[in-house]
């Protein structure tokens, strides 16, 4: 390899090295900025479901109800992660159900038909409910 080509190679190497360090620096800057992603909201939601645990069985399958399907699916996923090894199934066809509404008035509306009774309310709109009767 000629001296010129070798010199160019060395320059390219140094440029790549500078590029690597600069990119990592940019990553640092990005990671220290506020995160607008949907995941950020999820971090708070993890702690929202934690107080449910003492009121639920250790294992088995429970239901999960939420006001809207799209919001409910994500909330169910978070609840599944927090409450594992319980299996959290979508819908209210189980003896024990987690009801996750935005406020208590919606929760009261859900309980109004008498199919479920309140077992434990852990936060505004968030409760463990049990099937009433046989």
């Amino acid at each position: 390899m000629s001296r010129l080509r070798s010199t160019i190679c060395t320059i390219v190497m140094l440029l790549a090295a500078l590029r690597a360090i600069w990119l990592v620096w940019i990553t640092l800057a990005v990671s220290s900025a506020p995160d607008p992603g949907p995941d950020h909201a999820g971090q708070d939601a993890f702690s929202r479901f934690e107080p449910l645990r003492p009121h639920l069985p250790a294992e088995g399958t429970i239901g999960f109800v939420a006001p809207s399907a799209q919001h409910g699916q994500r909330q169910r996923d978070i609840a599944q992660y927090v409450l594992a090894p319980l299996v959290v199934d979508t819908g209210d066809g189980h003896l024990v159900v987690v009801a996750d509404f935005s406020d208590d008035s919606q929760l009261q509306l859900f309980l109004a038909d008498g199919r479920y009774q309140l077992a434990a309310r852990v936060a505004a709109g968030l409760a463990v409910v049990e099937r009433a009767g046989p």
């Binding site: 160019i8 390219v12 190497m13 690597a20 990592v24 990553t27 990671s31 971090q43 299996v87």
Partner: protein, 482 residues
């Protein structure tokens, strides 16, 4: 005290990995290849320990401290294998030529090594920051992987409920969740630190394996440059910090292909490396379903290289399968006993498949996404940066020139064939899997390319001459003088 127990958990897996890699590592290889042995031992150790963790979870979970007992038995077996193999290698060495003499590094190499070290430190800091911002990992991490670790750790008799349909991807292999659960057992409680530590470990191991492989094959200068190129890939750090399983899969694929490069260079001395190549492919298969495709593709690539170089095919494939078999067995046990069916293949009908395959808009979308992702993969991201790493690599390739070493070309063929077949496999999956192709591409394309990128960097630098660092040496390989 908790940290000491956690270190003990890592210690068991690392020592097991070191003994098993040591048992298969040819002593006739250059001394610097021991760095590579050390770096692959950590990953393989975690892979093997996850298999023992499954054994513990299936049969011994109710006995107190049984996880330590299972790990200790595995370690004892590995030590026995290492000592037995060591004795037979010492006998072989008496008739073998001495290994290559040590080489001297130049000032430029030291400078590059220091820069690489700085980049590693900076990358580690960046990963720590990202991990602290997402302690539970990003969406896929907590929804697919960490949730299964919780079933394995907390679940009593009903731990296999994690394969129930309300959970996602019930057919995914368990290397990552089992490792997390196993380390939680050592720690004594569930914590976000264990997945975070593992998340940061994988990319560091990827860089270590790449640099060590290149150092053996092409010298320190190429090794440092390859490491820097990889560290300049932001997606690698991002996906790893998000605690995705794509990083360990990428590591095991790179490990298998790096060892394949060594085997191409020393086909006779490095026969036993084929067992480790099989084990690495097995770990990949035990990490994600894409790893099963990789194990098959590597089988085909090794067959091709063996046929091309007129080596006897049967012993090559027998050693590969010997390393692969234990992991394949564990995957089969998991898939046949517990796992549900794959979402990709349920509800598939022949007319539906034909319709998808002949839908040209799907082909167009996949190709366009690939072109765009490859263009932006190495270094550009949402900040609108100009991707300069690929042009820089091309300039470097023009100046460095192409290698004339037969061994390097064989390694390049093996690596290129594997990567090509993997890409073809991914293309086919995209083509036939989901009706909503745009969603499928958007959520997975970058991660799939990240599986292949470290191995692609290895191939690029394998096919290029090392700058002013290599000269013809004795035997089949070149001796690198830096």
């Amino acid at each position: 005290m908790t940290i000491l127990w956690l270190l003990a958990g890592f210690g068991f897996s690392t020592l097991t990995g070191l003994c098993l890699v040591g048992a298969c590592w040819p002593r006739q290889l250059p001394r610097r290849s021991r760095w590579l042995a050390g770096s692959i031992a950590i990953g393989l150790g975690l892979g093997i320990s996850s298999c023992s963790a499954l054994v513990w979870r299936m049969w011994f979970w109710s006995m107190p401290w049984s996880f330590v007992f299972v790990d200790a038995v595995l370690l004892a077996g590995s030590v026995w294998l290492w000592r037995r193999r060591g004795r037979s290698q010492r006998r072989e060495l008496a008739t073998e030529p001495p290994s290559d003499p040590p080489v001297r590094a130049a000032a430029v190499d030291y400078a590059l090594a220091v820069i690489l070290g700085l980049a590693i430190v900076a990358a580690s800091v960046a990963m720590v920051q990202t991990c602290l911002r997402h302690p539970h990992g990003y969406d896929d991490a907590w929804a697919f992987w960490n949730v299964k670790a919780k079933f394995l750790f907390y679940g009593q008799q009903r731990w296999a409920d994690m394969f129930s349909p309300p959970l996602y991807h019930v057919d995914y292999p368990l290397l990552l969740p089992l490792n997390i659960a196993r380390l939680w057992c050592y720690q004594g409680s569930q914590s976000t630190q264990v997945p975070q530590v593992l998340a940061m470990l994988w990319p560091l191991l990827i860089v270590a394996v790449l640099v060590a492989t290149m150092a053996v094959c092409q010298g320190v200068r190429s090794a440092c440059l390859a490491g820097l190129v990889l560290l300049a890939t932001r997606h690698l750090l991002t996906y790893s910090s998000w605690q995705y399983a794509d990083a360990p899969l990428s590591l095991f694929m790179l490990t298998a292909l790096g060892l394949t490069s060594l085997w191409c260079r020393w086909p006779q001395k490095g026969r036993s490396l084929l067992v480790l190549i099989g084990s690495s492919a097995g770990c990949a298969a035990w990490t994600k379903n894409e790893g099963l495709l990789f194990a098959l593709v590597l089988f085909l690539a090794l067959s091709s290289v063996a046929a091309m170089s007129r080596r006897p095919l049967r012993p090559v494939l027998a050693r590969y399968l010997l390393g692969l078999a234990p992991f394949l067995l564990v995957v089969l046990v998991m898939k046949l006993t517990y796992a549900g069916s794959s979402e990709l293949f349920t509800d598939q009908t022949l007319p539906g498949l034909v319709a998808r395959c002949t839908d040209w808009s799907r082909h167009h979308d996949i190709i366009m996404w690939t072109v765009r992702s490859v263009h932006h993969l190495p270094d550009a991201d949402r900040l609108g940066e100009v991707p300069i790493l690929l042009p820089l690599l091309m300039l470097y390739a023009l100046c460095a020139g192409i290698t004339r070493s037969r061994a390097d070309w064989q390694a390049t063929v093996a690596l290129g064939l594997t990567l090509l077949l993997m890409a073809a496999g991914y293309y086919t999956i995209y083509l036939i899997a989901h009706d909503n192709l745009t969603w499928h591409l958007r959520t997975s394309h970058g991660r799939l390319l990240m599986h292949l990128w470290p191995s692609a960097v290895l191939m690029i630098f394998m096919v290029l001459k090392a700058p002013r660092s290599c000269q013809r040496g004795q035997g089949s390989g070149r001796q690198c003088i830096n």
